[in-house]
């Protein structure tokens, strides 16, 4: 236990120092997640909010929350793993008595910590621009929302890790991420609140893990009504399904790993 804690601290502080070097880049990354705000502009311009039983203020809160959730659930493990596997950097990692994915997870968490000031600045700017008349939900609500955002990040990390295992079989597995991105983009609630979907499409979306990654935490964050236990249960169910799959593929993949490069 003590060893794990120390390990976590060292990993996180090393990765944080590393990420700080990239802070200019991370500021740019933060800008690349502006999609929910662009969609907010479209939805409020289209005057469609009234049909959605959402007031303009609620709509604004929802998309702002979706923006925050998106910022803290960015996952790029497939790209870095593909590079590490192709260039042979994975080999020394495998010799260490630590699953390489802990290192990647630490890198992601450190990157999110670096992101905090930029995200706060953007949220504040939008809040001021959009006339913050609508008030912010009480602390208990958004603290819970942030907690669920972290869970959403872990779920997305897990899902992408499962896809990442294809790197053991193909040199260009990162292309698969482009496919994974499509349902994430359109079904998760990033481009439209799920209420806006026709019932059939909405049922389809809810049968995938994607709404758990944006819609559910964003609703919590924005103080909308949610089925908290149901949402958490869905996340847990997907984790129980994906985690063994990841471990299984990892073991099968390792047997194929040929240590290319160095």
């Amino acid at each position: 236990m003590k060893r794990s804690l120390r390990l976590a601290r060292v990993l996180l502080s090393v990765q944080y120092a590393y990420m700080l070097e990239y802070r200019a880049e991370i500021a740019l990354w933060a800008l690349s997640g502006l999609l929910p705000l662009i969609m907010l502009a479209l939805w409020s311009g289209a005057g469609a909010a009234a049909d959605l039983s959402l007031s303009p203020a609620e709509l604004r809160r929802y998309f702002l929350a979706a923006f925050v959730v998106r910022q803290f659930t960015v996952v790029w493990v497939i790209h870095i793993f593909e590079e590490d596997a192709l260039q042979g950097r994975l080999s020394p990692y495998l010799l260490q008595p630590l699953h390489p994915f802990w290192r990647y997870l630490a890198a992601h968490i450190a990157e999110q910590a670096t992101r905090v000031p930029f995200v706060l600045a953007i949220v504040l700017a939008v809040w001021l621009l959009g006339a913050g008349a609508s008030g912010w939900p009480p602390p208990s609500t958004w603290l819970l929302g942030l907690l669920v955002t972290i869970l959403a990040f872990l779920l997305r990390f897990l899902l992408q890790s499962v896809i990442t295992m294809a790197c053991f079989w193909s040199e260009r597995a990162a292309a698969l991420e482009r496919l994974l991105l499509i349902p994430y983009l359109f079904l998760s609630g990033l481009v439209a609140p799920l209420e806006a979907f026709p019932p059939g499409l909405r049922r389809l979306a809810l049968a995938t893990p994607f709404p758990s990654m944006v819609d559910f935490p964003a609703r919590l964050l924005s103080g909308a009504e949610v089925d908290l236990l149901g949402g958490l249960f869905t996340m847990a169910a997907w984790t129980v399904l994906l985690l063994p799959l990841f471990l299984l593929l990892w073991r099968a993949g390792l047997r194929r790993y040929a240590a290319m490069g160095a």
Partner: protein, 262 residues
């Protein structure tokens, strides 16, 4: 001139041979284009299904905009991403030295060295959608209109290229911007929708700062036969200006290039 054409032939046939080693990627890209297109159409339908529309554009006209976006996205995957996305690596590893030593213009080499056939499904799907949606919208463009629209499309491709190149060229100063171009790609998503659908402030931003309007909306208006001289001239001017800027910036940047020896 002949030398450049011959080089281009050699460049593209060699990268084609390399890319064809991964035939499965063709399938992935095809699925990704179709998935993205389907998702975008569904999002558009969410706006139009409730009778609100977007910025005064009819459903079919909005599809023309989407077609142009798909076309440009395919162009990005075919030429911009594989070439300009690699500049950062050349700067970081110092292999830009070898490029500069070649007896050929370095901007040309960096912009045209690779060719990825996987963007072509996007180009084809975009062209097909533009053609169909134009017919559905009831416009039957005559030859001069088509030529004019083609010219404007060329302008938007040049603007897009310059934007990418300028961002990629800044890597000479900020070595680690490998995702700066991703930011551009995700912000240009705004071009999926006619620019008049955005609130006035954003519309100005998308016209003057980030010329999304010139990329998709202006060519779409031209195909539909609604082009007005001021916009056409502005588009031509913007293309010329951004191309000159990209050239000037590259020359300027090269003076700061210090290679990566340490």
């Amino acid at each position: 001139m002949g030398r450049y054409l011959r080089s281009l032939g050699a460049f593209w046939s060699s990268s084609l041979a390399m890319e064809l080693e991964y035939p499965l990627n063709a399938l992935i890209e095809l699925l990704s284009v179709l998935g993205n297109l389907a998702g975008s159409v569904v999002v558009l339908a969410l706006f139009y299904g409730r009778g609100h529309g977007l910025g005064g554009w009819s459903w079919d006209e909005a599809l023309v905009v989407l077609g142009i976006y798909t076309l440009l996205d395919g162009f990005t995957s075919t030429l911009l991403q594989p070439n300009l996305g690699a500049i950062v690596n050349h700067v970081r590893t110092g292999s830009l030295d070898f490029v500069l030593l070649k007896p050929i213009d370095s901007q040309f080499w960096l912009s045209a060295r690779s060719f990825s056939p996987w963007g072509l499904p996007g180009v084809l799907a975009g062209l097909a959608l533009i053609g169909l949606a134009t017919r559905w919208a009831g416009a039957s463009p005559a030859l001069p209109t088509l030529l004019g629209a083609g010219l404007l499309l060329l302008c938007s491709a040049l603007i897009l290229y310059s934007l990418w190149f300028v961002l990629a060229a800044t890597s000479i100063w900020f070595v680690k911007v490998w995702n700066a171009t991703e930011v551009l790609r995700s912000t240009l998503v705004a071009g999926r929708f006619p620019v008049s659908a955005y609130p006035p402030a954003l519309r100005t931003l998308f016209t003057l700062v980030l010329p999304v309007a010139f990329l998709t909306t202006v060519p779409a208006e031209a195909i539909l036969g609604r082009a007005t001289p001021p916009w056409v001239l502005a588009s031509l001017g913007m293309a010329l200006l951004s191309l000159t800027l990209s050239r000037a910036l590259w020359r300027h940047a090269l003076r700061y290039y210090t290679s990566a020896s340490s």
